[in-house]
C-alpha cells in the first residue's frame, strides 16, 4: 500500500517544500501584509498558507478519532486536496487516479511554473487602483492549495476567486480546485431555484437540514477513500437494510477492490449483521455523527431514533475506527 506516500504527500516533507514555494509567491505579490487586515474575514485562518490536511489545523474540528487519514477531510470545505491522495487507494480508476501519483511528484514543478505565470498575470489583472481589498484577499489565498476551507464569505470580493483558481489548480492536477467561495451570484443559478435547493442542502456546514413540510432528512455521507461526498435522504429508507444497500450502491465503485473478493456484493436483503459483516469484511465500518457530535456505530439504536439523531454518515475504514471497532465486532458477535 502506498500509505506512507500519502502521509508524505499530505503532511510531511512535501508540505514544507510547498509551503516554501507558497511563501515565495506570497512574498512576491504586491500586497502581502493583508493577512492581518483580513482578519475580519470568515475563515481567514484556513486561507493562510498551510498545506497540512485541511482539517488537521482547524481548532473547531473534532479530534480524537484515531489516526484517520482523511477522517476530517470531508467535513472541511475542500475536496481538491483529498482527491489526489485518495486515488491511490482505489483501484477503480474512476477519474484518472493514476495521475495522482504523478501529481505528487509534479507538485513543486507545476506549482512554481503555474504560479509565477499567474502571478505575472496577477499584476495585470488587478492593479492596485481603488485599493480594493479583493486584491489583498487574492494574494493571501493564492497559494492555498487545497488547504483553505472557505473563501471569504460573500462580502464583495468576487475578483478574488479568479486568482485563487489560477494558482491552486496548477497544483491540483486532476481535481476540482479547493475552496469554493461564497461569491455573490455564482454559480449563476436563479435565486428562485437557489432557495428551493437551499431547503434541500445543509447550509454552511454539514448536518441535518429538515425541509419543513416535506420531512426530508438529508445527511452527507462520506467514505474513506472516496473522492467525493454524497447525500442521502434518510426519510427514503425504512430500515438499516435499505440504507445499507443504498450506500452500497452509491459507493460500490469505491469498494470494488474490497467487496468482490468477499463476494458480498449483490446480496439482497441485508440485515444489520450483514451490514456489519459487509463493512467489517471489507474493512469498512459505517458510523454516524449524532446530535451531540459523537461518532457512533450505525445499527446500535432503533431506526427511528437513528434518523432523529443522525447528522452525518461516514463509512470509515475499520482500522480507523479504533475506538469503535471492538464494539462493532462485539455487536456482530452478539447478533450472530
Amino acid at each position: 500500500m502506498s500509505i506512507p506516500l500519502e502521509h508524505d504527500y499530505i503532511g510531511l516533507s512535501e508540505t514544507s517544500s510547498l509551503e516554501r514555494s507558497s511563501d515565495k509567491i506570497s512574498s512576491s505579490s504586491s500586497t502581502v501584509t493583508t493577512k492581518d487586515e483580513n482578519s475580519n474575514v470568515f475563515n481567514l485562518k484556513e486561507t493562510e498558507l498551510r498545506l497540512g490536511l485541511p482539517g488537521s489545523l482547524s481548532p473547531e474540528r473534532k479530534a480524537g478519532l484515531g489516526i484517520s487519514l482523511f477522517g476530517k477531510d470531508f467535513e472541511d470545505k475542500t475536496n481538491g486536496y483529498s482527491h489526489s491522495p485518495l486515488k491511490n487507494f482505489v483501484s477503480g480508476a474512476k477519474r484518472g487516479f493514476s495521475d495522482a501519483i504523478d501529481a505528487s511528484g509534479n507538485w513543486d514543478l507545476s506549482m512554481n511554473g503555474g504560479s509565477e505565470v499567474d502571478l505575472a498575470k496577477g499584476s495585470v489583472l488587478f492593479p492596485p487602483t481603488g485599493g480594493k481589498s479583493a486584491l489583498e484577499k487574492i494574494n493571501t489565498q493564492q497559494s492555498c492549495l487545497p488547504g483553505p476551507a472557505k473563501k471569504d464569505a460573500g462580502v464583495h470580493s468576487p475578483q478574488k476567486p479568479i486568482q485563487e483558481k489560477k494558482t491552486s489548480p496548477a497544483n491540483d492536477n486532476n481535481s476540482a480546485p479547493a475552496a469554493k467561495a461564497q461569491v455573490v451570484g455564482w454559480p449563476p443559478i436563479r435565486s428562485f431555484r437557489k432557495s428551493t435547493m437551499a431547503t434541500n442542502s445543509a447550509k454552511n456546514s454539514d448536518g441535518v437540514d429538515e425541509k419543513s413540510g416535506s420531512g426530508c432528512i438529508y445527511v452527507k455521507v462520506s467514505m474513506d477513500g472516496a473522492p467525493y461526498l454524497r447525500k442521502v435522504d434518510l426519510k427514503t429508507f425504512r430500515n438499516y437494510a435499505e440504507l445499507s444497500s443504498a450506500l452500497e450502491k452509491m459507493f460500490s465503485c469505491f469498494t470494488i477492490g474490497q467487496c468482490t473478493s468477499h463476494g458480498l456484493r449483490g446480496r439482497e436483503g441485508l440485515s444489520e449483521s450483514c451490514l456489519m459483516d459487509l463493512l467489517h469484511g471489507s474493512e469498512y465500518v459505517l458510523t454516524y455523527e449524532d446530535k451531540d457530535g459523537d461518532w457512533m456505530l450505525v445499527g446500535d439504536v432503533p431506526w427511528a431514533m437513528f434518523t432523529d439523531s443522525c447528522k452525518r454518515l461516514r463509512i470509515m475504514k475499520g482500522s480507523e475506527a479504533i475506538g469503535l471497532a471492538p464494539r462493532a465486532m462485539e455487536k456482530c458477535k452478539n447478533r450472530n
Partner: protein
C-alpha cells in the same frame, strides 16, 4: 394601375411628411392588409424602414410589441407609434439580477406602463413580463382596466403576492392564460385559486408550479373540469399523485403537464389508475414537476412517454438508473432538463435513448455546497453529443471540463445555436492538462457557425476572446465571468462580433480602454453589463459624454472607493435618462 394613392384615411402623419406626395403603388388598405399578415417583429421593423407609407401602414397594423429593455423606450413613445397594440412583452432588469447582482428597488416598475396602456390600449389582451417589478396594486389596476384581458405571464418578476393574483382571478373574466414562473413573490396562501368565478371556463394555460402554498383541491378540480380548452396545467407540489389522477381524468386534452409531488406511496390499483390516466392524455407532449419522484412511481409516466417532446426533470432528483429507465421510453424527446444527480451515467443514457434531442440543460443539485462534488463531467457531455447529433441548445453546469472534450462535442454537434457552459469553480482550467479553456471555446466558435448565444467559464485568457471576435459572427449574446487577461479580450469581442446585442461581464480584468473601444457599438446593442471589472467613473463619464443616446448607469458598492465603477449598465435609449432611478443608480 391607379397611381393616385388614397392616403387620407388611416395615415394621419402622411400628410405632414414630404414623402407623402410619392405615389404609392396600391392603396393603404391593401398595404395594411398585406402587412397585417406579418407576424415577426423583425420583418415588421424592416418593413417600417422602407418608406413613410410603409412605416405608417406597419404601425397601424402591429398588434404585438416586444420591448427587450423597458428603459430603452417610454410608454408614451410606444403609444404614439403603435395605436393598436393587443399584446405586449416587456423585459426589465438586467439578467444578472437573477443572481442577486442588482439591488432591490432598482426599478422596472410596470405601473407607469399600465397607466399609459389603460389610456391608449383599452383592448389590451396579453401582457408578458420578465424581470419587472409588479405590485399587487398594479395587478389590481390591470384587472380593472382591461376588460378583454386574456393572458398574463410573469417570469422572474418581484413585488407582488398572491393577493394580486386574487385580483386577476376575480376580475379577468376572459382570462385564457395565467402563467406564474420563478418570481420573487410573497405567497400568502392558495386562496387565490378559489377566486375564479364558478362560471369561469375560458382558461387554457394555468401555471402555478412555483407557488408553495396549497390550493383548494376541490376548487382546482372544478376549475379544470369547467375549462374544456385547458391545454397547459402546471400545479405545485402540494398536489398529490392521487389528486393528479383526478385532474388528468378531467383534462385528457392536456398538452403540457406539470405534476405535483410524485412521492406518494401508491397501491397497485392507484398505480394502474394513474397509468391509465396518463395513457388517456393523447396530446401530452411536455411534462414537468415530478417533485421527489422515485423509481417506484416514475413508471406511471411510461404510457405518456412515447409522445413526449419536452421533459423537465429539474425538480426531480433522479439518479442515473432511474433516468435511464425513464428515457428508454422517450425516444422522441427534443428537450430535456435534468439535475446533475443523474451523473455521467445518466447522460450516457440520454445519448443512447434520445437521438432527436435538440436541447439539454443540466443543473447542479447542490451548487452552493462546497463539499458535494458529484455531478456531471466532460464525459457525460461527450456521451450526449455522440448520441444526439441534433443538439443545438445546451446549458451545462459541471465541476470539470477539458478542452479536448469540448472539441469533440462540437465536432459531433456543429449546429449549436446556444452554448452555455458553466464550470462551477471560477477560473478552473482544463482538469487534465491544467491549461486554460481557451481552446474549448475556440473550437465552439470555429465549428458552430450558427452560434447565437455563448456563456463561457473556466480559466480563460484573452485568447478565448480573440477567437470569439474572429469567428463568432452570428453571436448575439455573450456572458463572461472570471475570465480574460486584459482589455484586449473585450476589445476583440466588441470589434469582431458584428451581431452582438447583449454583453454581460462580471469579475473580469477589463477596464476603461475596453469599455471605450465599444463606443460606437453600444448603440447597435441592447445593453452592456459590467460588474466587478476595472472600469472607473471617469471612463463611464467619458462614454456618457460621447454617446448621448446611451444611458450609462453606475451602481456603486458600499466599500469601494470613489473612482471605481462597480456595476455599469449601458444601454441605448430613445427615452433619455431614467426618471425613476433610485438613489443608488447614478446616471452619468
Amino acid at each position: 394601375m391607379d397611381s393616385i394613392s388614397k392616403k387620407t384615411k388611416d395615415s394621419p402623419n402622411s400628410t405632414d411628411s414630404p414623402e407623402s406626395t410619392h405615389p404609392s403603388s396600391f392603396p393603404d388598405e391593401v398595404l395594411e392588409g398585406v402587412l397585417s399578415l406579418l407576424s415577426f417583429n423583425k420583418d415588421r421593423s424592416s418593413v417600417s424602414l422602407v418608406c413613410k407609407d410603409w412605416y405608417n401602414a406597419e404601425r397601424w397594423t402591429r398588434t404585438k410589441v416586444f420591448i427587450g429593455n423597458c428603459y430603452s423606450v417610454s410608454p408614451e413613445i410606444v403609444a404614439r407609434r403603435f395605436p393598436k397594440i393587443r399584446s405586449i412583452i416587456l423585459k426589465g432588469k438586467p439578467r444578472f439580477s437573477d443572481f442577486n447582482l442588482v439591488p432591490e428597488n432598482w426599478g422596472a416598475d410596470i405601473q407607469s406602463w399600465l397607466v399609459v396602456f389603460a389610456r391608449v390600449y383599452p383592448f389590451l389582451e396579453e401582457l408578458r413580463l420578465k424581470r419587472m417589478t409588479v405590485s399587487d396594486e398594479s395587478l389590481e389596476f390591470l384587472a380593472a382596466s382591461f376588460p378583454g384581458f386574456k393572458a398574463l405571464s410573469l417570469s422572474s418578476c418581484d413585488g407582488f403576492s398572491t393577493d394580486g393574483l386574487k385580483a386577476i382571478a376575480t376580475h379577468c373574466k376572459n382570462l385564457i392564460e395565467l402563467d406564474i414562473q420563478d418570481n420573487g413573490m410573497d405567497d400568502f396562501g392558495g386562496g387565490w385559486l378559489s377566486c375564479f368565478p364558478e362560471n369561469f371556463a375560458s382558461l387554457e394555460v394555468l401555471n402555478f408550479a412555483s407557488l408553495n402554498s396549497e390550493v383548494n383541491f376541490d376548487a382546482l378540480e372544478r376549475l379544470v373540469t369547467r375549462c374544456k380548452s385547458l391545454k397547459v396545467l402546471r400545479v405545485n407540489k402540494g398536489i398529490t399523485l392521487e389528486q393528479l389522477q383526478r385532474l388528468l381524468m378531467r383534462a385528457p386534452q392536456l398538452m403540457e403537464l406539470g405534476t405535483g409531488s410524485f412521492q406518494q406511496d401508491l397501491t397497485p390499483r392507484q398505480c394502474a389508475e394513474l397509468e391509465s390516466a396518463f395513457s388517456n392524455c393523447k396530446n401530452l407532449h411536455t411534462v414537468s414537476g415530478l417533485w421527489e419522484a422515485n423509481s417506484l412511481n416514475l413508471p406511471i409516466l411510461y404510457p405518456a412517454c412515447a409522445s413526449l417532446v419536452f421533459l423537465n426533470l429539474i425538480d426531480a432528483t433522479l439518479q442515473s438508473g432511474e433516468l435511464a429507465k425513464l428515457l428508454a421510453h422517450c425516444p422522441n424527446l427534443r428537450r430535456l432538463w435534468v439535475q446533475d444527480t443523474v451523473e455521467d451515467k445518466g447522460l450516457e443514457a440520454v445519448g443512447s435513448c434520445c437521438p432527436l434531442l435538440e436541447e439539454l440543460r443540466v443543473f447542479p443539485a447542490d451548487p452552493f455546497d462546497p463539499d458535494i462534488l458529484h455531478g456531471v463531467t466532460e464525459s457525460g457531455f461527450v456521451a450526449v453529443s455522440r448520441g444526439c447529433r441534433r443538439l443545438r441548445y445546451v446549458l451545462y453546469f459541471c465541476r470539470q471540463m477539458t478542452n479536448a472534450a469540448v472539441a469533440t462535442i462540437v465536432q459531433n454537434c456543429p449546429d449549436f445555436t446556444h452554448f452555455r457552459l458553466c464550470i462551477i469553480n471560477p477560473g478552473q482550467p482544463d482538469h487534465l492538462t491544467n491549461e486554460p479553456m481557451d481552446e474549448a471555446f475556440g473550437a465552439v466558435v470555429k465549428t458552430c457557425t450558427k452560434l447565437q448565444r455563448l456563456s463561457v467559464s473556466g480559466l480563460l485568457t484573452d485568447l478565448t476572446f480573440e477567437y470569439i471576435g474572429k469567428y463568432a459572427k452570428n453571436l448575439e449574446t455573450l456572458s463572461v465571468a472570471f475570465a480574460g487577461s486584459s482589455d484586449r479580450g473585450m476589445q476583440c469581442v466588441l470589434g469582431g462580433c458584428s451581431k452582438l446585442r447583449k454583453l454581460e461581464i462580471r469579475d473580469c480584468p477589463f477596464g476603461n480602454a475596453a469599455l471605450l473601444s465599444g463606443l460606437e457599438k453600444y448603440e447597435s446593442m441592447r445593453s452592456l453589463w459590467m460588474s466587478a471589472c476595472n472600469v472607473t467613473m471617469n471612463g463611464c463619464r467619458l462614454l456618457a459624454r460621447e454617446m448621448p443616446w446611451l444611458n450609462v448607469e453606475v451602481m456603486k458598492d458600499e466599500e469601494s472607493d470613489d473612482s471605481h465603477a462597480d456595476k455599469v449598465y449601458v444601454y441605448r435609449s430613445v427615452a433619455g435618462p431614467r426618471r425613476d432611478a433610485p438613489p443608488f443608480v447614478m446616471t452619468l
